[in-house]
């Protein structure tokens, strides 16, 4: 195992993206795709490792994008990361899409990321990150902004998977919870509308 070697990936949107960090070097892949991430992810990771000449057993950790984003896409990566972590005996570390988008940009900065349905995921990053929320568009905030729903905002500093990898690597020395999808949006389930009948004595 090499202590500075970490593989990160993200399928929280219409892409299959991965970044490998080792010895200060970076290897990147990002393939746009609407579907098929579940079939493509592991072969893509194998290709990236082969290109860098690094084996699975060299990895010190796994980084994974936890969303918010496409529910199914987020689960594809989180489940794969947890399987790899269990199989390799190394930690998997979750990084939210909002943290990754703010990474290496001057602070304070507010991330405003398109959440579809006329809403945005919003989170302010100052010295410490503020709470993440989902809110209707348009979003009015003071100061610098970034993200797909902030058209005049700063571009992100790094490709998404590389940002996930860097943040995950920075957390490798402290114990982390297992990565879990960061949904921000509820499951869209409603209790049944028809009440049960009255039971007479």
């Amino acid at each position: 195992m090499r202590p500075d070697t970490l593989l990160a990936f993200d399928t929280s949107a219409a892409h299959c993206a991965a970044a490998l960090l080792s010895g200060g070097q970076v290897w990147l892949r990002c393939e746009p795709m609407d579907k098929g991430q579940a079939e493509r992810l592991m072969p893509l990771l194998e290709e990236l490792l082969a290109e860098a000449g690094i084996g699975w057993s060299d990895l010190a950790g796994i980084g994974v994008g936890t969303g918010p984003g496409n529910f199914t896409g987020v689960r594809i990566s989180v489940a794969a990361a947890r399987g790899l972590a269990l199989g390799l005996g190394i930690p998997a570390i979750g990084v939210t899409r909002l943290e990754a988008l703010a990474h290496r940009l001057p602070r304070p900065i507010t991330v405003i990321e398109d959440a579809r349905r006329g809403e945005a995921y919003v989170q302010e990053f100052a010295a410490e990150p503020g709470p993440a929320r989902i809110t209707p568009l348009p979003v009015a905030v003071a100061g610098a902004v970034t993200g797909s729903a902030a058209p005049d905002g700063l571009p992100s500093a790094l490709p998404l998977a590389q940002a996930v990898a860097e943040i995950a690597l920075s957390r490798l020395s402290t114990p982390q919870p297992r990565p879990a999808p960061f949904y921000l949006r509820g499951a869209d389930a409603a209790p049944p509308s028809d009440p049960p009948p009255v039971i007479l004595p």
């Binding site: 529910f71 689960r75 989180v78 947890r82 790899l84 972590a85 999808p181 499951a187 389930a189 039971i199």
Partner: protein
């Protein structure tokens, strides 16, 4: 392939998160070293049925814990395994995907072979796991999501004689419980009420009995129950406890009558194969219903056929059956690559005409 094998099984196609470890030495009975099943009943209780997104969220965060518990219960680590079997469909796609991706991660990390398993094959091969049943045997798969008659001819060879054209019986039991204000899951609740009721008070339909073949239908029965309930509520403002018992008894009798008659027909078709040791096996949660089981036992005895019902924990969704189906598939020299797909629809018998979901996406099951 005659080597002893130890397989991990992973199942997440509906509302149970499950992992199991199974050892099989050829010539001996398979040994279930561990079987962990974590249900989600409480998560879905408020909604009157399984909510796919809620199920998917739970699976994604529970699967690896279940695998760790299954390994710990078996007293083994991953290095002791010979392969990883995972349900790759059919089922609720969010859960299936989480299981498949977890399995891919594990298989990649360990270098172990990955075997994608059809969930229905898991159920259909369970009589071989529990009793070493020889092919060909007749299988009635009857659960909350499925209802079909299959002749199992080999680990990868199934002929579907018929099945439901709409709802599964387990779903009808759940719906009945919901309509009558009983607890979920509906099967045990309705069965308990039915035992105290008069099955002759309400005349419920026996759908498709007047048509030849083994296809079934349960959605009309649900509607008939709703109408009978609404008539009682309109008449007196609610249901008495006895009304509810009688409705449950009438409903259960109709389900049992239909399944019994269609089983009789399926047995006739199965007899044409002249099996040397004829057997009927059941699987699925509805197979736990004692009234139904008694009818099937009688019919089997009349037909001179062995009746086999695996223990309930192996009748309902579990991962031991997935590990076993994986071993059976692996012994045929079959396994899968890292491009294995999770499939919401995946009929066991690919040649039989579709019963449900015959649109461009193909048959459901």
């Amino acid at each position: 392939m005659t080597a002893p094998l130890i397989f991990l099984g992973i199942e997440s196609s509906c509302d149970d998160t499950a992992a199991a470890v199974l050892r099989h030495v050829p010539g001996q009975a398979p040994e279930i070293l561990s079987s962990v099943v974590e249900g989600q009943t409480a998560l879905h209780a408020a909604f009157g049925g399984v909510v796919p997104e809620i199920a998917a969220r739970a699976h994604a965060e529970r699967l690896d814990h279940c695998v760790e518990r299954a390994l710990a219960d078996a007293g083994l680590d991953l290095a002791a395994l010979d392969g990883i079997a995972v349900t790759a469909g059919p089922g609720l796609i969010g859960g299936v995907l989480s299981g498949v991706m977890l399995a891919k991660g594990l298989a990649t990390a360990t270098g172990l072979p990955l075997v994608g398993v059809n969930h229905l094959a898991g159920h259909a091969l369970t009589p071989r796991l529990t009793d070493g049943l020889a092919f060909p045997y007749l299988m009635l798969l009857v659960s909350g999501g499925h209802c079909q008659f299959l002749i199992a001819k080999g680990p990868e060879s199934f002929t579907r004689l018929g099945g439901t054209i709409d709802d599964a019986p387990g779903e009808a039991f759940d719906k009945t419980a919901k309509l009558l204000g009983l607890a979920q899951p509906g099967g045990p609740a309705v069965e308990a009420e039915a035992a105290l009721g008069d099955a002759r008070r309400f005349a419920f339909p026996r759908p498709l009995l007047d048509r030849p073949g083994c296809d079934l239908s349960f959605s009309g029965l649900k509607t008939a129950l709703l109408r009978a309930r609404d008539a009682l509520v309109a008449e007196k403002g609610g249901l008495t406890v006895q009304d509810r018992r009688d409705l449950c008894a009438g409903f259960q009798a109709a389900v049992a009558d239909v399944l019994a008659e269609k089983t009789r027909r399926a047995l006739q078709m199965y007899h044409d194969l002249a099996p040397s040791h004829p057997a009927l096996a059941v699987a699925g949660g509805v197979a736990a219903n004692k009234a139904l089981r008694a009818r099937l036992e009688t019919i089997s005895a009349e037909a001179g056929v062995q009746f086999l019902a695996p223990p309930l924990r192996l009748c309902t969704d579990n991962a031991a059956m997935i590990a076993w189906a994986g071993i059976e598939r692996f012994r045929l020299g079959l396994h899968d690559g890292m491009d294995l797909s999770a499939r919401p629809r995946w009929p066991l018998d690919q040649t039989a005409p579709a019963l449900i979901g015959s649109g461009k996406k193909g048959a459901k099951a």
